[in-house]
């Protein structure tokens, strides 16, 4: 597209045709940038990505019960988080009501505003050093069990792509959004 003797004036828009080197181009060398773009992006209309938002958009189809989740949690999560999710340093459960005290305990139950975020984070970043090794339903299971350890869902419940966004987190209204 560009040849050694073909330049585009730096003020040109991308719609403009290429212009031959001119005296004015010499007078204004391209020292401080230009905005002539090659437009090389390839169309990927089917790309879905794996980002799950707080409102549940992006959640894949799937489900698991708290009991199924208990087996996943105990096998894959409990070594770092404790069987009750309260191992210091990686605490996931408890702490509700402590945020305004001198020693706040921030956990999924006491602090996280959205339940789908739990799915997103486990699916992308857990277990540490074995990231992305859980199946979709195993991630729903671990999500369900962590919510259960926090008293947010009952032991008999099933968590799925259609229910996760409706789960009310205790600290849902605890944040002030500075960029809105």
């Amino acid at each position: 597209m560009f040849t050694y003797k073909t330049f585009v004036p730096r003020c040109a828009t991308t719609g403009m045709v290429l212009l031959a080197l001119s005296a004015s181009a010499i007078a204004q060398p391209l020292l401080d940038g230009h905005n002539i773009k090659p437009e090389l992006g390839r169309l990927v209309p089917d790309y879905q990505g794996t980002i799950v938002s707080g409102n549940g958009s992006g959640l894949p189809l799937g489900q698991a019960s708290v009991e199924q989740g208990e087996r996943v949690f105990n096998a894959r999560c409990a070594a770092c988080h404790g069987l009750d999710g309260k191992l210091a340093g990686n605490q996931l459960a408890g702490g509700i009501g402590t945020l305004a005290t001198a020693q706040p305990v921030k956990t999924v139950g006491s602090y996280w505003p959205y339940a789908p975020t739990l799915y997103d984070y486990i699916a992308r970043a857990m277990p540490y050093n074995e990231e992305k090794s859980l199946s979709v339903d195993e991630v729903y299971g671990a999500t369900a069990y962590v919510l259960y350890l926090n008293g947010i869902v009952k032991r008999s419940e099933v968590v799925s792509d259609s229910t996760l966004a409706d789960i009310q987190m205790p600290n849902r209204d605890g944040f002030i959004e500075l960029q809105q």
């Binding site: 940038g33 090389l40 990927v44 938002s53 706040p104 996280w112 975020t117």
Partner: protein
């Protein structure tokens, strides 16, 4: 200016900055005699041949310090720039601070893509080679971890170096493609307000960037200080959001999802939010506050003679350029303006300097920065009061160094 006025000691020994240029002319540093004949062995035979990639002098002993442990292990930790050993405003790439959430991925750029998807007219994918063909910009910016200086939020002051305490900040020249070029090519929907950036590391770091910022001065950075990004800084590509907390400059950038709402990911809800004393928490608190510190003299150093020293350090602000830095040698009672480098840039490290005569007495050195928006760096007490007592993000309180009668420099709280 005559010698008497140079010797005029104002409060705490700080010298007016007019003295800065004149002091050397008066030979205050003393003089020494160079022998005519070579007397060192490196003068008498050929040295090492040229190498492929340069290394610092072994005598300089430059190294980052690991900044504390992490429950997940070393690969999820951080290392800090040895600010006390550097000068100027550019951090060498080998000494730029690091903070990773699941180690440094070894990415082959030929197998890495950047995809823009979501609320756009055309979902687009770019290779590394594609991006190298786009128009680029080059700017100097600071990058600071939201948790920088967290150790100074602890109850008792730690006797550590300037870098160990405050070195999760670095300065570099970043070169990359303005993000809005790529967003324009994809065609963002009019209702889109956020861009969700995702990294390709094992942690899949994901953060929501307000569209207003994304269309302003954000870039997809490809080069740092003139060379391709180091793996630890996001090779082959990272987001760079000037002035904002480092975590949102997502490394190993892999996808950008355009949408109407933030994603509310774990790292912008559970982490990188600031709890207030009433139990509420601030979210999307991106801009880093105005801040400075004296890098010399600083913690763990010892002044081994009385006389003139150059007090120097760094200042920066996420809200603009640095307009001024004042220095106190008496614990904050009196303040003297320091000399700033002449080209103080927005959202970049700015070097300040002021001569100081140490007369062998106990002193407390502090610096206080003001930015072009009129923000003034707060005292430690004021900075801590903004957040819950357990908070440690976005701490920008004044750093105090105590110099004992024996010249030992230590971190103190004032």
């Amino acid at each position: 200016m005559d010698k008497d006025s140079i010797n005029q000691v104002i409060e705490g020994g700080l010298l007016p900055r007019r003295a800065l240029l004149k002091a050397s002319a008066l030979g205050l540093a003393g003089s020494f005699v160079v022998p005519v004949r070579a007397s060192q062995d490196w003068m008498t035979h050929a040295g090492e041949p040229q190498g492929e990639y340069g290394q610092p002098s072994p005598f300089a002993r430059l190294k980052r310090e690991q900044t504390g442990g992490h429950p997940l292990g070393q690969a999820a930790g951080s290392s800090s720039t040895p600010l006390q050993d550097l000068n100027g405003t550019i951090t060498p790439n080998s000494l730029h601070f690091e903070r990773h959430h699941s180690g440094i991925p070894a990415i082959d750029p030929a197998r890495h893509t950047l995809t823009i998807f979501g609320d756009v007219r055309r979902q687009l994918q770019f290779s590394y080679e594609d991006l190298l063909a786009y128009p680029m910009e080059t700017h100097q910016y600071f990058l600071e971890c939201s948790g920088n200086s967290f150790r100074n939020t602890l109850n008792a002051p730690l006797d550590l170096t300037a870098g160990s305490l405050n070195g999760l900040v670095s300065g570099a020249e970043w070169t990359g493609v303005p993000l809005h070029y790529l967003l324009d090519e994809a065609g963002i929907d009019s209702a889109a307000r956020w861009v969700i950036a995702e990294g390709a590391d094992a942690a899949g770091m994901t953060r929501s960037l307000p569209m207003k910022l994304a269309l302003d001065n954000v870039m997809v950075a490809l080069y740092q200080n003139g060379e391709p990004l180091r793996p630890a800084q996001g090779y082959p590509m990272r987001l760079f959001v000037p002035g904002s907390e480092g975590n949102i400059s997502v490394k190993w950038l892999h996808s950008l999802k355009v949408q109407g709402m933030p994603a509310y990911t774990r790292d912008e809800t559970a982490k990188y939010t600031e709890l207030l004393t009433d139990g509420k928490a601030e979210m999307f608190s991106l801009a880093m506050g105005v801040k400075s510190l004296i890098t010399s003299p600083s913690g763990k150093m010892t002044l081994n003679r009385k006389g003139i020293y150059e007090v120097t350090g760094l200042a920066w602000s996420g809200a603009g350029a640095i307009r001024g830095v004042e220095i106190s040698a008496d614990g904050g009672v009196n303040w003297e303006p320091a000399a700033l480098q002449s080209d103080a840039r927005p959202m970049a490290l700015t070097r300040f300097r002021l001569p100081w005569r140490w007369v062998g007495q106990s002193s407390i050195l502090q610096s206080r920065a003001t930015d072009t928006q009129g923000n003034i760096q707060p005292t430690r007490t004021v900075a801590l009061a903004r957040y819950s007592a357990a908070g440690f993000y976005h701490y920008n309180g004044i750093q105090s160094w105590h110099i004992s009668n024996a010249g030992v420099v230590k971190n103190v709280y004032v």
